[in-house]
């Protein structure tokens, strides 16, 4: 079933896009990540122009995070004060990221930068997750009790001024810490079309030292607003948001996410984390290969 995408200016097989969204949604439901890190590269491989892919993938992540946020709010799993500071930083980061995006686009290096940032980010986070999950599985197998991790924030965070209380996170830290963290993730959201959950969650745990119960909900809360902002920034600057493409992706991903969430409840979280780490590393490896391989097309054309 072919459908014409009015902004990407080409026709695609609607079923392929819905299934692609469904597959990513399945993973995002299983692992609790937005899945933007998979959507953008897959769309590019399918032949969608990179800018349109990054701009439209953000709205898919918005859709994926909405139902998660509602569920976590009901369970009181969102620290709204912490989330508010993260979102504020994220919105500024999104606008700043939009500026970087245009700058890189003008110099013709946007695709290379996107690929390198992906490789570095996914490579390091994937290996960290893999070691952590592997260790957890080994401990589980040998029946050894996991060492209770001391919840502490990073010394750098403690050195920031104007401390305030975050009751649900159980923290007394400076608001600049979540602001800066949100800012960085906001930039990545615009550049890569990702929600940033896979960076935000470890950062909240290990840098800020938040209570585990509110980490995922608060991360989704930030993702919801910042990806919405990313869509707005792209809509007004690059004008590359393809609403038909986004709708097809959403259709698949929201359905896939629900199925994935049900499946995840039956599998041990350690195995899920290891599986996610493997997928992340595979994507990073594929992109790294693409950077070094002689490209199919040495020349590329853009309108000026």
């Amino acid at each position: 079933m072919d459908i014409y995408l009015p902004i990407a200016n080409l026709s695609v097989n609607a079923l392929v896009i819905v299934l692609l969204g469904g597959g990513v949604g399945l993973l995002s439901g299983m692992f609790g990540v937005g899945g933007g890190f998979l959507t953008t590269p897959l769309l590019i491989v399918y032949g969608i122009p990179p800018t349109v892919a990054a701009a439209s993938a953000a709205s898919q992540v918005t859709g994926a995070s909405v139902s998660g946020v509602f569920a976590h709010v009901r369970r009181k799993g969102v620290d709204f004060k912490m989330g508010g500071f993260l979102v504020a930083g994220g919105l500024v980061g999104a606008v700043f990221g939009g500026w970087i995006f245009r700058l890189l686009q003008a110099s013709g290096q946007i695709d290379t930068v996107i690929a390198i940032v992906y490789v570095l980010l996914l490579g390091s986070i994937g290996s960290m997750m893999a070691t952590e999950a592997w260790g957890a599985i080994r401990r589980m197998r040998s029946g050894e009790a996991p060492k209770p991790r001391k919840r502490r924030h990073h010394p750098l965070v403690a050195s920031l001024p104007m401390r305030t209380r975050f009751y649900r996170s159980g923290l007394y830290i400076s608001p600049f810490a979540p602001l800066l963290l949100g800012f960085g993730v906001g930039i990545l959201t615009i550049l890569l079309g990702v929600g940033g959950g896979f960076i935000l969650v470890p950062a909240m745990l290990y840098l800020l030292g938040m209570t585990t119960q509110v980490v995922v909900g608060t991360s989704l809360f930030q993702t919801l607003f910042v990806t919405a902002m990313a869509t707005m920034v792209h809509a007004t600057t690059t004008k590359a948001v393809d609403i038909v493409l986004a709708a097809l992706l959403l259709l698949g991903s929201v359905a896939g996410a629900q199925i994935g969430a049900r499946f995840a409840a039956r599998v041990k979280p350690e195995y899920l984390r290891l599986a996610l780490a493997v997928i992340v590393l595979l994507v990073a490896g594929r992109i790294a290969l693409g950077l070094g391989w002689r490209p199919d097309a040495i020349y590329s054309v853009e309108l000026s």
Binding site: I3, Y4, P6, L10, T62, D111, M232, A235, V241, L291
Partner: protein, 260 residues
């Protein structure tokens, strides 16, 4: 389409009426199967039929045995484009290194002919009429050395050929009884919108004897037109609509999943 065939059928009659012109040159009466191509949700490209008649003065076919050839060129609106060339950086990764800007490169260019163009016209004539992918006047907006310009032009043509936007189809024009001709040109879904032209050339003995042009309008219609326009002109509202859509989808799926 109907009108076109009528024109072909009526051609000999019309010619008889307009005979007083003491022209010695033949005249082309071209037409296309579709004057307007509308891009809709199911658009996967179009198949254009270009056809017409060759009217010889006095209605007599030339009696020498030199072959008559027809060339049909379909061109899309010109675009100002930037072509980038990748190079391997430090033996490690491929990055965009150099670039060349073209002020007016055709967004689409398809040439169909009754035999390879190089066998009917010399290079100079081909360049004058822009016949053939190697004879395109791309007008690079720089003073780069000729060698580099050539390299970029070849790269551009190669890239566009691969995406089906530049097409060369020798032998795709059929000539019936020396007076009727027809050719099919495929328009891919990736074409930009705008005014296209279909030019027909009559070639004999290494010379272009007659030429005629028809316009084809390609535009988005209905919902696709509405979306493209909103994205361009009402970008804030369009962005809000995209966000609202994704929130609605996500929320709706959550509600449905809880009921199940």
């Amino acid at each position: 389409m109907k009108r076109g065939w009528l024109a072909v059928l009526a051609a000999p009659l019309l010619m008889a009426q307009s005979a007083p012109r003491p022209a010695t040159k033949p005249v082309l009466v071209p037409d296309v199967s579709q004057r307007d191509i509308e891009i809709q949700y199911s658009f996967t490209g179009a198949n254009l039929l270009l056809f017409g008649a060759i009217l010889y003065p006095g209605g007599r076919l030339p009696d020498d045995d030199k072959p008559t050839d027809i060339v049909v060129v379909v061109k899309g609106p010109v675009q100002s484009i930037l072509v980038r060339e990748k190079q391997k950086l430090g033996g490690l990764i491929w990055v965009n290194a150099s670039r060349l800007r073209y002020r007016s490169a055709p967004s689409f260019y398809a040439i169909a002919s009754s035999k390879p163009i190089a066998r009917m016209l010399d290079a100079r004539t081909r360049a004058i009429y822009e016949l053939g992918l190697s004879s395109l006047q791309l007008s690079p907006a720089s003073s780069a050395p000729l060698q580099e310009q050539d390299r970029f032009a070849r790269g551009l043509v190669d890239l566009k050929t691969r995406t089906g936007l530049y097409v060369e189809a020798p032998g795709a024009v059929e000539i019936t009884d020396g007076v009727l001709y027809r050719a099919r040109v495929a328009i891919p879904a990736r074409v930009p919108v705008g005014r296209f032209t279909a030019e027909t050339f009559l070639i004999r003995d290494g010379r272009v004897l007659a030429a005629a042009t028809r316009d084809i309008e390609i535009r988005k219609s209905g919902f696709e037109r509405f979306v493209a326009r909103s994205a361009e002109r009402q970008s804030v509202l369009y962005g809000l609509a995209a966000v609202a859509l994704s929130v609605l989808f996500g929320w709706g799926a959550g509600v449905i999943a809880r009921r199940l």
